[in-house]
Symmetry: C2
Subunit: 219 residues, 2 copies
């Protein structure tokens, strides 16, 4: 289980910090507002009030040890860029940063963010898509009981056929697609029982969320 730092606890950052904690991850939450820190204090591993653009302050909280830092400061562009630069220089392995404009996204990528997210734009796209597909009934409900996920097969699956592995009877998960490493856009949908998993393949599986979790833990 990886450890995370979330910097900026607006609606988006707060939701990330809270959800990560609920999933059992170690979370350091940082915000300059004492009220926001107070709200999250009992939920995360460590909650600290500080100005994240203050290099000394941010180094003093042991942030260099986290696996992933999420910068969830949208509006204050200068602060968001500065924090990204500092975390990059500290050597954080992976930096995910929120942007609320194209240019902010480009700046963040330039100074070191590995991934830039546009939460409002992305949720707008998802909601628009679900509104237009008038035949998509209960799509969200489907996703809460079942999930479609792509997984890296464990090495013991290599060169075995799907029927040999009997994933459905063993783990109650169903392989609905195999994405080959060398032809990544050409997913083989609904593979046959005799299809063999090769190293580099990604498996697209559907199953109840609790069964997928069990399977991940066994791996």
């Amino acid at each position: 289980m990886r450890s995370f730092a979330v910097i900026g606890l607006g609606e988006f950052g707060f939701s990330i910090a809270k959800t990560l904690s609920e999933l059992g991850a170690e979370v350091i939450a940082i915000d300059e507002s004492p009220e926001r820190i107070k709200l999250i204090d009992s939920i995360v591993t460590k909650a600290i009030t500080l100005d994240a653009t203050n290099e000394k302050a941010i180094k003093s909280v042991g942030i260099e040890n986290v696996d992933v830092a999420i910068i969830a400061i949208g509006k204050k562009l200068e602060a968001s860029i500065l924090v990204a630069l500092m975390l990059k220089e500290i050597g954080i392995k992976r930096i995910v940063a929120k942007a609320i404009s194209e240019i902010q996204g480009r700046l963040l990528a330039r100074v070191g963010a590995d991934e830039v997210v546009f939460p409002e734009v992305e949720s707008g796209e998802r909601i628009a898509n679900s509104l237009v597909s008038s035949s998509i009934n209960d799509f969200i409900k489907l996703s809460s009981e079942y999930a479609v996920v792509e997984i890296i097969p464990p090495t013991e699956f290599y060169n075995k056929s799907l029927s040999e592995l009997s994933l459905r009877s063993k783990y109650n998960i169903n392989v609905i697609g195999i994405r080959p490493e060398d032809d990544s856009d050409n997913i083989k949908i609904l593979p046959l029982a005799e299809d063999v998993i090769t190293e580099g393949d990604m498996l697209i599986v559907i199953g109840a969320v609790k069964d997928l979790d069990k399977f991940k833990k066994k791996k």
Copy 2:
């Protein structure tokens, strides 16, 4: 194809209006800021600068004829509630409203919103989930080329088996589950070729987005 009104063109509302237009829907976009209207004007069917809490103004733009109104005003709680109430009284069939706090969500539901969305919270949850599932690689990429959707089968599918219908060869879509009307939590995953579709069943299908669109149009 349904028609929509989007009121409030912040990052979220703008993204909804733009995406709906790209999907071919008719969109009336409303915002009190002339700059936001100018940005979206060439993209949507109609873009109008007005204060949405002004009942006379909002009635003058033919909003009563839309199928769905999306209220994307987050911060100004009073405005968001007032607009929801007005649209409900005008008789809009479906009102989707953004909220940025629990209490705003409850108020919106109370005055008439059929669905309340919390875009920042929801994208925070999704991103946190994808960060923790270290084996969920490319989950978002999967969703952009392929979609898993639940559809209402057309009447000509009733009492036919999946092999009779040969959806894969005819439409290139794959049925990965059947949700029976009377046992809605018990989805039959990876049904067999001889399984028959009964009236009331919902089909869970996976396919490339363009193929799903084609199938929906043929229906």
